[in-house]
Every structure is written in C-alpha cells, then in structure tokens.
C-alpha cells in the first residue's frame, strides 16, 4: 500500500493545487499555512476549482466530498503521522530553511520531504534537515491538477529508496515524472527563464511586439503559449527572482535580468496577478481576457 497521508506546506497557488490533486485521487491531505484567513481562502479556491471542473461532465464531483479529505490547519503537529510532505512555501531560503527544521522535528523519521521549489538547490534544502537522503525535489507544473508530468530532482544525498517512493507517489496521483540531477533551476526553469528573458530583450530592443513574439512560437513551433504569455502567467516578479537565483548561482551573464523585466516589476506590472504585464488582463480586477 502506497503513501496515503500527505502533508502540504503552503496554501498558495501550488499548494492548493497539490492538496486538490491529493484529495481528488483519494488521499488524505493536511494543508498547512500561517493563518486561518489564508486557509479559508484556500478552501474556497479549491471548492471553486472543483466546481469549475464540472463544465466537463466526466469530471463532475461533489466539492464537499473532496474537501472532506483535506484538513486545513496552522498546526505542524498534525503532521505527526504523515508519510510524505510536499513543501510549497515562498522561494526564499530563510523561510524554507525554517520550514524544513520544523518538519524535521515533527514528522516521523521515515517521512519523505518533497520540495516543490522552482530553483532552490535540493542538496541545500537537504542540508537543513537531519534526513538529506529523504529530501527530493518535486517540481509540479501549474495548474497542478491538470499538468500530468512532474520534474523530479535528485539531490546529492537523495537515496534510490526515496526516489522509488516519489515515483510511486506521483503514479498514485496519476502523474508521471522525469528525473533530473540537482543544479540551479534544474532543467525546466533554467531553460525557460533564459527563453523568457531573451523574449523580454527582444521587446526592449523593439525587434518585435509581444504578441508577434508569442505568435511565432505558437504558430511556427506549436507551443501552447509563447514566452511572454508564460512570463505573465508565472508572474514577472517571480521570473525576476528566479533569474536572480540563476545569476547568483552561475555568475553567468546569460542569466542577467532584462532591464525591461525589472522596469515592469518596479512599475507593479506583474502579469496576470496584477492585471497587466506584457499584456493587459483586466481594467479593474478579475480574470484574463485577450491581449
């Protein structure tokens, strides 16, 4: 019998998606964040996402039934009998290190810690615990319930046993994985961020408009989204932070952040979440429309 009880730390976009995927595949999830307000919003978000799936008749489900499998709490001691924890807190080392120290103290000795980080070293996260062999990177894509492939990252000390547990766990969620070794940005973000950054430079240099850059990649290469739409979806502030991590890690000028990205972030233009990035999403507040 595989992993059944799973802790999820951080009720942001990714943590909510992980908790929803767990509950929809019959697992017990414990979703932890700092305040009851955050948790209440998370509960409502998950309810809305499950309802939205109802537009597809095959995916209709009772939100109450699924939510009954998620415990929402600020109390880390609720993790005392978990078998695996997925950590999704902000991409800041000081915050993550604190979380891993707490997890180490409350979780059972055999519990695996899966870091859903976009760029922070798995080896370094492992060093913040007394169980580096049980720390593994599990980089889910957004939106978690709909993206079926996960980038799994092997830290320096991550054991084969932990890797087997991770693969089996993801299979239980109906997901498959591609395993890579630990390096800043792993594969997905190291490549995607150079791509998005250079697309921003093309706009800065007035080589082409954002829409045309994205259309080239959608129509010529068959990408589902162009690099600038993707940057707006991730959040330009997050893209800048990740580029900064990559630049500091490699000391390589190819990761030097485009001045246009910094300017947009300084201007509060974060992309979808703020209503405007490279594209306009809303005039006052809400969901995206065409560019």
């Amino acid at each position: 019998m595989g992993v059944q009880k799973v802790g999820v730390i951080g009720a942001g976009v990714m943590g909510i998606g992980v908790a929803q995927s767990l509950a929809q595949t019959g697992h017990q999830a414990i979703l932890i964040d700092l305040s009851e307000d955050i948790l209440a919003r998370a509960r409502q978000e998950i309810r809305n996402h499950i309802r939205l799936q109802g537009f597809n008749k095959q995916k209709r489900a009772d939100p109450d039934e699924i939510l009954s499998r998620i415990a929402f709490t600020t109390d880390y001691t609720a993790l005392a009998d978990t078998e695996l924890v997925v950590e999704n807190v902000v991409e800041r080392w000081d915050v993550k290190a604190g979380v891993y120290a707490r997890l180490d103290a409350v979780c059972p000795g055999e519990c695996v810690f899966a870091a859903n980080t976009s760029a922070i070293s798995i080896t370094r996260l492992g060093s913040a615990t007394a169980r580096a062999d049980k720390v593994i990177g599990m980089h889910f894509m957004n939106p978690v319930p709909l993206k079926m492939t996960v980038e799994v990252v092997r830290g320096y000390h991550t054991s084969e046993h932990t890797l087997d547990i991770a693969k089996a766990f993801l299979a239980q969620l109906g997901k498959d994985c591609i395993v890579v070794n630990d390096a800043p940005g792993f594969v997905a973000n190291r490549l995607s961020h150079v791509f998005m950054n250079e697309a921003a430079n093309l706009v800065l240099e007035q080589v082409a408009e954002p829409k045309d850059i994205d259309e080239i990649f959608k129509k010529c290469y068959g990408h589902a989204m162009g690099p600038l739409e993707t940057a707006d979806l991730i959040g330009l502030d997050t893209v800048v932070d990740t580029l900064q991590i990559l630049y500091e890690s490699f000391q390589d000028p190819k990761f030097r952040c485009s001045p246009l990205l910094r300017k947009l972030v300084d201007a509060g233009r974060y992309g979808r979440k703020s209503g405007q990035g490279f594209y306009l999403y809303r005039r006052t507040g809400g969901a995206p429309s065409g560019s």
């Binding site: 309802r51 939205l52 537009f55 005039r283 809400g286 969901a287 995206p288 429309s289 065409g290």
Partner: protein
Amino acid sequence: MSREKVLAETQSFLGQFIAVEVADDVDIFAAGLVNSLFAMQLVLFLESAFAIRVENEDLDFDNFRTLNAIAGFVERKVAIAA
C-alpha cells in the same frame, strides 16, 4: 427582476475584464474575449448578483456563451426558485 437588469449588470461585470462593449449575441468564449478560467468567476458573480445557485448540471458553456444566454439562464433559475 427584469431581463434588462440582468443584461445591464452582467455587461457591467464583463466590462471589468473585457475592454470593449459586448453585443448581446456575441459568443464571448469563441471570440477569445475570455477563457474558460473566467467561467467560474462568471458563475460566482451570477450567484451573488442574482441570488441563484448554479448546480453541477447547469455547468454547460451554452448557458454562459452570450449575454442573451446568460440572461435566459438567470431568468430560468429565478423562476424555479420563486
């Protein structure tokens, strides 16, 4: 509640997301003016603005494609609740 009121309030709500005025018979999804993620926000708005409950079986894009479709859907739900 009148059909005109439903149309006006829904048009106003859409105006927060779409930069242009939308004719009553324009398919807002097919025209690329909104995407499927917007559908949930529309559902939540209609429930709040018109005191209706959108059930699972109501979750059909045909009920929400155009302002006319939305007004007809709300009218039916209000009539059932009355």
